[in-house]
Amino acid sequence: MNYLAKHLLDIDHLSKDYIYDLLNSVKKIKNNQRKSDLKGKNVCALFYEDSTRTKLSFQKAASNLNLNFHNLDVQRSSQNKGESFYNTIKTINSIGMDLIIVRHFSSGAPYFLAKNTNSSVINAGDGSHAHPTQTLSDLFTIYELEKNFEDLEISIVGDVLYSRVARSNILGFLKMGSKINILGPKELTPSAIIDIYESLDNSFKNKIKFYEDFEKPILNSNFIMALRIQKERFDSDSFMNFHTYKWKVDMEKLKYFKKDVFVMHPGPVNEEIELSHEIVHSDRSLISKQVENGVYLRQKVIEELLENE
């Protein structure tokens, strides 16, 4: 599809051409070449999970667009009085919002919301399913470095099974023509991913490879994207042991990679588990760029959804 339509729930409906157009517009916003004013429009943040960067990033983006930003404090809302998600949606709908930005612990919740509201909806992360603005912003961070996606090999390291960032990013990189290595504990890197993504598009065939260790082919990667290990899972799943997690990327490991390799992470980082402190704050790290670019990307997405109305 060549437009965002009414909602941004994942990136699976977006074409490569459209994504390029979007990234070019974000570049213009970042370089102060264009500015929109959406004064008078109302945006509601509905976050059922904790968030620092995503929520603040949306808030800053909304503020750059002169929007009225309403934050519903879910922890102190009628949810505690037993109100169902459906009835909360209907309440917000009656109050009237142009856009709802939702983060929810249940996969698919933004789809349920979109189906039952008149507002536009942006998925700011749902369960283990998708995180489209993170992906588009990560694509921008790479695009900004003037890299050609089709020449890139990207290694995604860690908990792929439970990661919404992984699902959306794998799809994003595949759409742009990059190769993907998936590296991590077998239990967290389900091979079903290959069948799922390869069945979506012929051009995705043979683009994903799995590794259990930092083997040679991986050392050619242009980007290493580490994923957050969900600490809470270490208690419940006996196959993982916090202390023996061996997929940490540190300066020592980085030596074996290409000199110009970059390290990314969607945040928040568990330092010394996924990445060493040194790496996070090194010149190979794009983490602060990712956060910075997130604001511009979100600004563009909000603008497009509200201007399409």
């Binding site: 249940s106 789809y111 079903a192 069945s199």
Partner: protein, 443 residues
């Protein structure tokens, strides 16, 4: 004498030799005569126009939510829905609120059934008090007072000693335990089969291992003490293989499958009637497809059809599980599990005949003859066959018409069916219970 003459039907019942039989005479609620042609002047006549006539369907697995959750369904609406679906006898599970686990609750339930049910509604008792898995109910007493069998359906019986003891006592009373085979620990709050759909949608997988593990354990228990066990809603290939092997060794197992597991696979979760979407849209995460055990892969579905073919599976039962619109209006993992199946079961099975995946004879065998045989053994009921002196429970089907399933189709209080929007081959024209027409599609 009350005489009803059914003329010019195509009668299907593999349990008898009914070649060239077109006419059937009912006298006082019983099948009196079967013949190529019966002429009578003092009987009410129903003209069949070559429509198919099969025995009234028997559903060994329904949830009418009565008592406790009658906003979803009750005995009256549930039995009406079943009658419309061609069922004349049903067995209610005991996971109501409160559970049916003692004599006074059972007797009270019987009174409600007598007052409100349109068909033969039978009751199971839970196996353990309050379905808590700890203390056995009074199996002897409840058996003497007419419960069909015992089930903690919704949950597996976790303690193997309790299951063993329950089976012994139930078998002594010519009854069994209807076991919900999903290991509690291995379910791990999963909501969808572990496979590509769960990975793509990011939904928590409900492991096949949960079913396989408890099927394995239950077979061992039955085998060890030569006990008869009934395994409910088998959903995957590995379970089928375990049961097939055990049956070959002479283990006494009755195995059940639902029409939804025979008809749908996990891809239905995408909300596109089994088709794979190129991108996830608002139809996806269809909460009406959420069911326990979950819809499985296409490979599993095929293995269930094979299991019917080689008689590894004996029974088709609906697991009719009504949930209100409000209950299902939620995120996938928060919506309750269950599919509304009473009215659609036979229609989906007829569509499987249309697709050459089942035969009419297999339907009758698995949803009339065999459950009838079980109830005949337990309660001495003569049902489930078209045979002289059997009760006149019958269903007429017009196989040349289609059935459209939309929300208005349902007379159940709930409409939680992923089949809404489908059109299928075959139409249920008439249900006769005890010699009386209790449902008729006049359109």
């Amino acid at each position: 004498m009350n005489k009803l003459l059914l003329k010019n039907f195509t009668i299907i019942d593999p349990s008898g030799n009914l070649k060239n039989i077109n006419d059937l005479l009912i006298v006082d609620g019983k099948i009196k005569e079967l013949s190529e042609s019966i002429e009578l002047s003092d009987a009410k006549i129903i003209e069949g126009n070559k429509n198919i006539l099969i025995p009234g369907l028997i559903d060994l697995h329904v949830h009418y939510r009565d008592p406790g959750e009658t906003y979803k369904e009750d005995i009256k609406t549930g039995s009406m829905a079943s009658a419309k679906g061609g069922f004349t006898t049903v067995v209610m599970m005991s996971n109501t609120s409160p559970a049916i686990d003692n004599l006074s609750a059972l007797l009270e339930q019987k009174q409600i059934i007598d007052l409100y049910s349109k068909i033969r509604v039978l009751q199971t008792s839970s196996v353990t008090v309050g379905r808590k898995g700890k203390e056995l109910v009074d199996i002897d007493l409840l058996s003497q007072n007419g419960v069909v069998s015992f089930s903690d359906d919704g949950d597996v019986i976790r303690d193997p000693k309790i299951l063993n003891q329950a089976l012994k006592l139930a078998n002594k009373n010519n009854r069994t335990i209807f076991e919900h085979c999903e290991d509690h620990e291995l379910i791990n709050d999963g909501v969808i089969s572990d496979g590509s759909v769960s990975v793509r949608l990011g939904l928590k997988p409900r492991s096949k291992e949960a079913e396989i593990t408890s099927v394995k354990r239950d077979i061992e228990i039955a085998k060890k003490n030569d006990l008869w066990i009934y395994l409910q809603h088998i959903s995957c290939k590995e379970s089928v293989e375990l049961i097939r092997k055990a049956k070959n060794q002479g283990v006494k197992i009755t195995a059940e499958v639902t029409p939804h597991h025979l008809f749908m696979n996990e891809n239905w979760t995408y909300g596109k009637k089994g088709a794979l979407p190129s991108w996830i849209d608002l139809m996806s995460y269809d909460t009406n497809t959420r069911v326990n055990p979950p819809l499985r892969s296409e490979n599993d579905r095929k293995s269930l059809l094979e299991a019917i073919n080689d008689k590894t599976i004996d029974i088709i039962a609906t697991d009719h599980a009504p949930h209100s619109k409000g209950d299902k209006l939620d995120t996938f993992d928060n919506a309750p599990a269950g599919i509304n199946g009473a009215e659609t079961a036979l229609i989906t099975l007829l569509e499987l005949v249309n697709r050459n995946e089942l035969s009419f004879e297999q339907i009758v065998e698995n949803i009339c003859n065999k459950p009838g045989e079980i109830l005949e053994n337990i309660l001495d009921l003569k049902i489930g066959r078209i045979k002289k002196d059997y009760l006149a429970d019958l269903v007429a089907i017009d196989y040349n018409s289609n059935t459209k399933i939309n929300e208005d189709f349902f007379i159940s209080k709930s409409k939680n069916s992923p089949l809404i929007g489908s059109e299928m081959k075959g139409k249920i024209k008439m249900t006769i219970f005890d010699g009386k027409v209790i449902f008729e599609d006049k359109k």
